[in-house]
């Protein structure tokens, strides 16, 4: 079970790396990297926690704290990077049709 968790985590990290290469623009790349990499890192950390807990009999609160920390910070980081990209005018992929934030900003500038 612990090995399966490590493999799932590594696989998710690989998928997110492939997503960063394959996807067309900044926002979809961030979508791939933040979500999949966060879950991959959390799976690997959970496997580490279970390994130390079950095999060595050592409950490490630091790993639980790290899981909580990664879970809390990675989405915030992705949000901030994508918002900075949008504020500096990085354009979306040409096939995307909806940009509510841009619409909201231009409306606010007009009024």
């Amino acid at each position: 079970m612990i090995g399966v968790l490590v493999l799932i985590g590594a696989l998710l990290s690989l998928i997110s790396a492939i997503g960063v290469i394959r996807l067309p623009d900044v926002y979809t790349r961030l979508h791939a990297s933040t979500k999949a990499a966060t879950l991959g890192v959390m799976c690997i950390l959970l496997a580490l926690f279970l390994f130390f807990g079950l095999v060595d009999g050592y409950v490490s609160a630091r790993i639980l704290l790290a899981i909580l920390f990664v879970f809390a910070t990675a989405p915030v980081g992705g949000h901030l990077i994508s918002r900075a990209a949008h504020n500096t005018g990085v354009s979306l992929w040409e096939s995307s049709t909806q940009d509510d934030l841009r619409k909201k900003k231009t409306k606010k500038d007009l009024s």
Binding site: R62, L65, L68, F69, A72, T73, V76, H79, K105
Partner: protein, 140 residues
């Protein structure tokens, strides 16, 4: 357009406490495990830097009204006093000792005078880092 920083500010309010608790843990952990005054101090200052990023330099200055240059002096003074204190017991400069004490909540703990020296290192590291960042960050 006025920036909307609700997400980062709310996350910071929670995360700063985790970072501060972990830095204090690192500081006390340094005697037998990886850790110590240096990385504990760097972690504390990184928590304050996170506050400066999420809020404002002036806001952080208002909630932490500390002159960091005085803090450098206090840290150095603590380190020197723990080193000089060994003269009182007739042993060479910077000699350290430890003993086992029974504290009310924690039970039996090992207390070393090296912890006091580490406290000086901790204060100097926090103060120097924050002095550098505050001096660079202020626009004039």
């Amino acid at each position: 357009m006025r920036p909307n920083d609700v997400v980062v500010q709310t996350a910071t309010k929670v995360l700063v406490f985790i970072i501060l608790v972990f830095s204090v843990f690192m500081f006390f952990n340094g005697h037998h495990n990886p850790g110590g005054g240096f990385i504990g101090g760097l972690m504390t200052s990184s928590a304050v830097v996170l506050l400066m990023l999420a809020f404002d330099l002036d806001t952080v200055k208002r909630i932490l009204p500390i002159d960091y240059k005085i803090l450098i002096a206090v840290g150095l003074l603590i380190a020197v006093l723990t080193a000089v204190g060994s003269f009182l017991f007739g042993v060479p400069f910077l000699s350290h000792t430890f003993g086992y004490f029974t504290l009310p909540i924690l039970g039996e703990v090992e207390l070393a005078t090296a912890l006091l020296f580490d406290l000086g290192v901790y204060l100097v590291v926090v103060a120097v880092t924050l002095t550098i960042i505050q001096t660079i960050g202020e626009d004039r």
